[in-house]
């Protein structure tokens, strides 16, 4: 059957149904989604934010922690951020934070262009953003945060949270 073409706008004061529907790109906004839609988790990409944290009130210490195992078929590293409660002061004490990934049981390797360094030039209660060198993740990848404290003079930083933000396929 030939395609009918209608110029201009149409308002249907009733129900409009069709055998197939080709909606325009980006035509669905939040208001169009029913409040109780319960859109299945399997239909969504999910954003996760696993983190390594050390409590305030004690000096940041050299530590490594595996913070996440990727479950979706593929994933994307979106950001890596380091928040500090009390920054180092008065000397050369500082610490670095690295994000590393192990794929298929291989050795952990950094995915950052450079580690995040927190020293006396940083202000209290601020966030530093890393530059990501590699963002692709696959199912089974393990993510590890490596904190390395150094220096001998001044006061070390206290209270740190390093967060990896990643988007994962639902399955």
């Amino acid at each position: 059957m030939a395609t009918s073409r209608i110029e201009g706008d149409v308002f249907v004061n009733g129900n409009l149904s069709c055998t197939t529907f080709t909606p325009p790109d980006a035509s669905v906004g939040n208001a169009a989604v029913a409040a109780g839609a319960n859109i299945a988790a399997s239909k969504l990409e999910h954003r996760h934010s696993p983190a390594h944290a050390q409590a305030s009130g004690s000096d940041v210490a050299t530590k490594s922690e595996v913070i996440h195992i990727v479950r979706g078929a593929t994933g994307t590293l979106v950001a890596f951020e380091v928040a500090i409660d009390t920054a180092p002061t008065g000397g050369d004490k500082q610490f670095t934070v690295d994000l590393q990934v192990s794929t298929g049981g291989g050795a952990f390797a950094t995915v950052l262009s450079s580690v995040v360094t927190v020293n006396q030039t940083d202000a209290d209660r601020t966030i530093s953003n890393a530059t990501l060198a590699s963002t692709a993740l696959v199912d089974g990848d393990a993510l590890k945060v490596v904190v390395t404290a150094s220096g001998s003079t001044g006061s070390q930083g206290q209270g740190v949270r390093a967060t990896a933000w990643l988007d994962e396929d639902p399955s």
């Binding site: 201009g8 129900n15 069709c18 197939t20 989604v33 990409e45 944290a53 009130g57 951020e81 409660d85």
Partner: protein, 169 residues
């Protein structure tokens, strides 16, 4: 170009392919979304759980710890807490809650604090009253936990979940 006259009643067509389309509010349900849609994460508001725990079997200690660094603006949905083993027999107790720092400013409480004394009940979920639910990008959230008292047995084991709905862009 002027609108066509309103079409009264119901219409059914083959394939409908408008240049623009105005959805009715609440029209889209789960079944309208294809099974393999993989809706982009950056189009969604995400629900984030920020847990804070102290282990079972050891006394609750005084501790502050950052639990969340906001990437984008959002809303605090709830703050829920459960003591595993509450204090017994003396004056030992502890209290904890959530504080926020905006723009590097001082920490400030954003909700009521939980006070756990000998009168509390093990494994019971408690909910904080939130003073200020909205937050902005780069806000920091911290748990402030304080163990007090000298007699009796201190509580052991706890979990507190701060739940955020955060924009993705």
């Amino acid at each position: 170009m002027s609108n066509l006259a309103v079409w009264q009643g119901d219409y059914s067509v083959g394939n409908l392919a408008p240049k623009t389309f105005t959805w009715g509010d609440g029209e889209i349900s789960n079944t309208d979304i294809e099974g393999n849609a993989k809706m982009d994460a950056d189009k969604l508001v995400h629900r984030i759980y920020a847990p804070y725990t102290q282990p079972v079997g050891t006394d609750v200690i005084t501790e502050d710890k950052i639990i969340h660094a906001a990437r984008f603006a959002g809303t605090i949905v709830a703050i829920e807490f459960m003591p595993i083993q509450v204090p017994t027999d003396g004056n030992k107790y502890y209290f904890l809650g959530v504080e926020k720092s905006t723009g590097g400013g001082a920490w400030a409480r954003i909700a009521t604090f939980f006070v756990i004394q000998t009168t509390a009940t093990n494994l019971t979920v408690l909910t904080a009253d939130i003073y200020t639910a909205s937050y902005v990008a780069n806000d920091l959230f911290r748990v402030d936990c304080n163990a007090q008292g000298t007699t009796g047995s201190q509580g052991q084991g706890l979990i507190m979940n701060t739940i955020f709905d955060e924009d993705s862009a």
